[in-house]
Symmetry: C2
Subunit: 195 residues, 2 copies
Amino acid sequence: MNSVLEKLFAYFDDYLPLGEKEKEDLSKRVTERKIKRRQFLLQEGDTCKYYSFVLEGCFRMYYTDEKGKEHNIQFASEDEWISDIGSLHNQVPSRMSIEAIESSHILQIAREDLWYLYTKHHVIDHNFRVIIEDKFIEMQNRVLQNISSTAYDRYASFLEQYPQLSNRLPNTQIASYLGITPEFLSKIRAEKASL
Amino acid sequence: MNSVLEKLFAYFDDYLPLGEKEKEDLSKRVTERKIKRRQFLLQEGDTCKYYSFVLEGCFRMYYTDEKGKEHNIQFASEDEWISDIGSLHNQVPSRMSIEAIESSHILQIAREDLWYLYTKHHVIDHNFRVIIEDKFIEMQNRVLQNISSTAYDRYASFLEQYPQLSNRLPNTQIASYLGITPEFLSKIRAEKASL
DNA sequence: CGAAAATTTGACATGACTCAACTGGAGTGG
DNA sequence: CCACTCCAGTTGAGTCATGTCAAATTTTCG
């Protein structure tokens, strides 16, 4: 447990580093878990109870539409947080699912503990503000891509922005993230390769 | 100035209400401005210096692509904040522009003042975390719509989600926000009307 | 009122989807 | 080690959603 906590503390060093008090308090409220491939962190209909930090492995959060099609909203790999924030905040059932794409190793903070930490330690509140702001910017860029670029360009940007991730993910998952069908992605790849 | 400050304080009452110290400190660091229709709050290439709170009126933030087409990323009307957070954070030139769609009345906080307030007052940091989290959820839903729904459905959702806004905005602006051409939106509207 | 901008309409072009068939690994069990 | 299945990926034909361009019409605002 100690070494994984160190990894979490080190992560915060890129923001405002945590002091001894915060580290101690945080340590008490963090749970370590191993998740197997294809196992769920959250299932549609359940209320999201945790903010999860990925130590190792990879997850996808997706929405299942009326026709049963799955749409990937987010991936999370090493040093990233994942959760359905809307469900976590308002304690309402989630419309999303979170599934492990690879066997993974995570840390979790339960909602009440997170709230406690936010209230008690300014620096934690602060860091999570900055973290979510960065996520917001990323999401904003994605919207921008979606409304202004063709599928071909969006795929190219994805490869450029997440080169490591794109190696680890099946193309089907990437297609779902980009909002296109796997067949069409395949055609895009064929076209790209022929240049 | 006093009455507009009261409006800002009242806005924060929906989060963690500000205490007297925070109010006083915030008051000193807020600037009031009137912006005419079609006037810019931020021009592409400039570095964003302010976080702006809309007291009255309406703005759009948009990106101009290589072909000169404008893509609306965000609207902001009463009781909403607008800024290119990426540019504001990292003090880099913005790729976006922010333009007043209506003649407007706003409050602005300069970057250094905002940083000061974040650091000094936990409650302000906290509130802005919650505010941006809500924005993040909104943006996430928008991505979801973009990757999973047809233009017809996205337009219907927009009308449902922002009924008041949709009355105030020209359809061209809505089309740009939805990521479709004004011509196609017009056809969608015709189809909708004929039901 | 008059100019400029927004909206509508139609013909045609293209991006992206559907469905179905085929290919080629990656297990699994004999 | 082979035969089998299973799933991801590819390919192609036909279709639907959306874009382009141009012209006509209406609305808005100065």
